[in-house]
């Protein structure tokens, strides 16, 4: 790099003796790259990071937009109160249950679909294109679709489920014991295709000769899958897992549209709770505290995955 830069600067100087070229190329290159990156960095800091920091600040205040006169500094009281708040603990439990179950099922189901789509023929290419439709539909509309289908009174599916006594006559969304599971089902419907796509890309990147060699050596399909396919697929699996875990943890749209956190608090997730507190009740201090705890949750998830990926990398390289 330096070599070429030196080279460039000397030819540059020889050709164009303008003011700029008295500065060495390496320096000008540095300035140029900084100038290219700066607008994006500045923008994201000003309108992204700055509000986030402001959010930490707000969370230390008793601050309600409807009662501005009562605004005062309360330190970590908002957080302490949240820990004592049963609704908040419920929201954490719901979010964790939602995340674990939807991601686990999406991963297994997605892997099976990816294996079925592995061979590169026309049929599979058409399937892959069509299967991605749920991923592109507005999440809000996805919520509405299932709300409509599962209505117990006249929904295409919900009516029969209730008639045959498979579900509570109130319908899946209106029964506390089934509402969260139904939301998990919606998430699976919406995002399994994405997981399948990522895993399929992983499968297609596998070294074909290794799989052939295993087949020649007489390894059974299951053995090949377990000792070759699965370990080599780890990067793709980790990518899908990371993406989906973080997204599922932040679930908002489908819950907000279908149940709004109810019945009772049975589907209240962290995001829904924060949005309701902050933008419906204008309880900025409390909402910011909830949002910050969610932020911390995402950070912990991301850190876990990074550590796991490093660990696997080390093991793979150590061999």
């Amino acid at each position: 790099m330096t070599n070429i830069a030196m080279n460039l600067s000397s030819t540059d100087q020889a050709r164009a003796p303008s003011g700029l070229s008295s500065i060495p190329f390496a320096t000008r290159r540095k300035f140029f790259l900084v100038a290219m990156a700066l607008p994006a960095v500045a923008y994201v800091i000003a309108l992204g990071v700055f509000p986030l920091v402001k959010g930490i600040w707000y969370s230390l205040y008793e601050y309600n937009l409807l009662k501005p006169a009562r605004t005062h500094f309360v330190g970590i009281d908002n957080y302490v109160n949240l820990l004592k708040d049963a609704d908040f603990r419920g929201a954490i439990a719901n979010t964790v249950i939602f995340t674990v179950f939807s991601v686990a099922i999406e991963l297994v189901f997605g892997f099976i679909i990816a294996l079925a789509l592995w061979r590169d023929d026309r049929f599979n290419r058409v399937c892959l294109t069509l299967i991605l439709i749920p991923v592109t539909i507005t999440p809000l509309v996805v919520g509405l679709i299932f709300k409509g289908l599962l209505l117990a009174d006249y929904g295409m599916v919900g009516y029969y489920l209730a008639q045959w006594g498979l579900t509570d006559p109130r319908g899946l969304f209106a029964t506390p014991s089934t509402a969260l599971a139904t939301l998990i089902f919606i998430d699976i419907w919406e995002w399994t295709p994405l997981v399948a796509l990522i895993l399929l890309a992983g499968l297609k990147a596998l070294p074909g000769d290794l799989l052939e060699a295993a087949a020649v050596d007489g390894a059974t399909a299951w053995r090949t899958f377990r000792s070759i396919t699965l370990p080599l697929m780890l990067p793709a699996v980790m990518l899908a897992l990371t993406l989906r875990t973080i997204d599922a943890f932040r679930v908002f749209d489908s819950v907000f549209v279908t149940t709004g956190g109810g019945p009772g608090n049975s589907t209240n997730t962290l995001m829904v709770y924060a949005v309701k507190e902050g933008l419906s009740f204008f309880n900025i201090g409390k909402a910011s505290a909830i949002a910050n705890i969610a932020l911390l949750g995402v950070a912990i998830i991301a850190a876990c995955f990074i550590l796991m990926i490093r660990h696997f990398d080390k093991r793979a390289n150590g061999r």
Partner: protein, 273 residues
């Protein structure tokens, strides 16, 4: 093909067809609802067959100012796409070309921003927009969508530019091209597919967003996603009208993704192969 592998292949295709039905039927149901007469929607037990009608579309166009809703959605999606590309593409380039250790850190910073829970930024952003008087305009939705999209585009273009051989530009630079010229004329055309993928994702994210739009826009500036939500809560709006309105929100984006499917898949699986 042996009998056994033929049987296996048939089973595989059968499974895929069932899977397709599972993923497509709910969507087709909503699409169909829009062509049902109202009495067929509310019939008990629900009917699968009906006489198609365009009444629901007439209703939807009568009740909603669909043109202005779609226009708002377009402004939000288009505006944030253009701004994000203008900011993110050069940043991705600079990060990929810099050998400074901080460049990798900045790239990871962009990746992390994309993971931030939306509310954490939305509440302070809402207050900020209120203070500078932008609340209620689609501009504020563009601005906040742009934070996430710029971070995403920078990260994605970073990986696209990194896969580009440096020699290409170096040759151009020795030929007396200015630095920006080398970026604009040589590197940019070479990552065209990355730019299309980035643009596609920006449009997808912003078109489909409703959390930001719900709280940052007013009646006259709300996009179609927000209108759908408020329509759902209203008693005199039937599922059919809702289905008709949902056409305007889902059909464009599904078509765009189907047409640009190659870039969509490529962008999503970047970093695996």
């Amino acid at each position: 093909m042996t009998t056994r592998s033929l049987a296996f292949d048939t089973a595989r295709r059968g499974f895929l067809l069932l899977t397709l039905a599972f993923f497509l039927l709910p969507f087709l149901w909503l699409a169909m609802t829009a062509y049902k007469p109202s009495n067929a929607i509310f019939s008990i037990p629900p009917h699968l067959f009906f006489e198609p009608t365009l009444d629901q579309f007439r209703n939807a166009l009568k009740i909603f100012d669909v043109g202005s809703l779609v226009l708002s959605s377009l402004m939000i999606a288009g505006g944030s796409m253009i701004l994000s590309l203008m900011l993110g593409v050069p940043a991705g380039y600079a990060l990929a070309r810099s050998s400074h250790p901080a460049a990798m850190g900045v790239a990871y910073f962009f990746m992390t921003i994309r993971m931030v829970p939306a509310v954490a930024a939305l509440i302070p952003f809402y207050l900020l927009m209120r203070d500078i008087g932008l609340i209620g305009s689609w501009m504020s939705v563009v601005l906040i969508n742009c934070v996430l999209n710029t971070a995403f585009v920078s990260w994605m273009m970073f990986s696209y530019f990194r896969g580009l051989p440096k020699e290409l530009e170096e040759a151009a630079l020795t030929d007396g091209c200015r630095q920006f010229g080398a970026f604009w004329k040589v590197s940019l055309p070479a990552v065209r597919s990355g730019i299309i993928a980035s643009a596609l994702f920006c449009v997808l994210f912003s078109w489909n967003d409703f959390l930001f739009a719900m709280f940052l826009t007013r009646l006259d500036s709300k996009p179609i996603s927000v209108a759908l939500l408020s329509a759902y809560g209203t008693k005199d709006i039937t599922w059919g009208t809702l289905g008709a309105l949902a056409h305007f929100s889902t059909v464009p984006i599904v078509l765009i993704v189907l047409v640009l499917n190659r870039y969509f898949v490529q962008g999503l699986t970047k970093g695996i192969n």
